[in-house]
Symmetry: C2
Subunit: 211 residues, 2 copies
């Protein structure tokens, strides 16, 4: 059974009492360990996850490559599940827990129902769609027009801001998987950037040099 007060301390987006009641009644909470796959490519989704704690990485695979789509943090949900649930399409991406995460799982059939009934739910949906779309559009333009080197630096700066540190803990392989390229390419470019005094390299970490 869901502990309602505890849940709505973490999930503050939905003030309507009736909606809260519905969520408690229909949802369940699952825990995912770091590295657990939540959603797999090709899977049909009949549920919608909302992250309460933790972080989910959503990405695509192609043979031995990967590329990041987006992260899902607390109080956010995954686009895949929305479009998948509405039109009964299979997921075209994978979702993996990057930290130990707590996830509220709601049956798909409610997401359209609630959307007409509850203003806050409706706004949540639209905001999710809109934000994710803009985010993806940005990624698309970047991949289409920017070099790997530029995308790599952009990524490091973003991470630096997000984690609030100049020293980013990430391996070259993981970085390659975020950017959709290979480890060797990342190592080569990073070395070049080190010569150019943009970064300093450590085992398992990259230091951004601010000038």
């Amino acid at each position: 059974m869901i502990d309602s007060p505890d849940l709505f301390k973490k999930l503050t987006l939905f003030p309507e009492p009736e909606l809260r009641e519905q969520i408690v009644m229909q949802g369940r909470i699952i825990s995912a360990g770091q590295g657990d796959i939540i959603i797999r490519e090709g899977q049909f989704l009949d549920f919608m996850p909302i992250v309460l704690d933790g972080l989910i990485r959503v990405y695509q695979e192609k043979e031995d490559r990967e590329i990041l789509l987006y992260y899902v943090g607390p109080q956010e949900t995954c686009m895949m599940s929305l479009t998948s649930a509405y039109f009964d399409k299979e997921s075209t991406a994978n979702g993996m827990a990057m930290e130990n995460s707590e996830i509220l799982v709601l049956p798909a059939r409610f997401i359209s129902e609630w959307q007409l009934k509850f203003k806050s739910w409706n706004e949540f949906m639209i905001r999710t769609f809109s934000n994710r779309y803009n985010e993806l559009l940005g990624s698309f333009t970047d991949v289409a027009f920017k070099s790997v080197q530029v995308r790599l630096m952009d990524y490091l700066h973003e991470r630096s801001e997000r984690d609030n540190t100049e020293r980013i803990r990430i391996s070259h392989q993981t970085l390659a998987n975020e950017l959709g390229t290979t480890r060797v390419v990342v190592s080569r470019i990073l070395k070049q950037l080190e010569y150019e005094n943009e970064v300093r390299l450590y085992r398992g970490a990259i230091q951004l040099i601010t000038k």
Copy 2:
């Protein structure tokens, strides 16, 4: 003044009488000639266009390159305007009429209002978001993982299906602008494909060879 019976012959998605009344009252219809720019990058949008007749091409520019985002056909609308209208962001794309087009223009402030009031409008919005998102996701994966040659052939096959002909009327430059690359690259690849007996080339047209 909008000719109501004529409008709803072209716009069949919204059966609710009250919604139809609203649309007639608040909307206006504009005509765009072939080549007219409807939406420009950086523009703040306070309206939402629904195409009645014709075709709008939505694309991004970067210096002397272009890349296609999507086409908007009859009874469809443009994502840009949705996200732009909801969160008061500027458009990050351009929209150009590819044919003489007739467009229903609705003030932005109604799109969220109607969405809670009218089921058909709500579905229209969600379907638009969902379809456009999936479409963009496909483009993203293609650009990230496929070669220009493969994307070029994919494009030709799509066009061939859409226009129902094996002979696609398009210049190499225009094709380059669809794919986000340059004319020379397109010419080179097409010539290669001609050697391989995949296509036959004409001035201003490309013939797909079906085997």
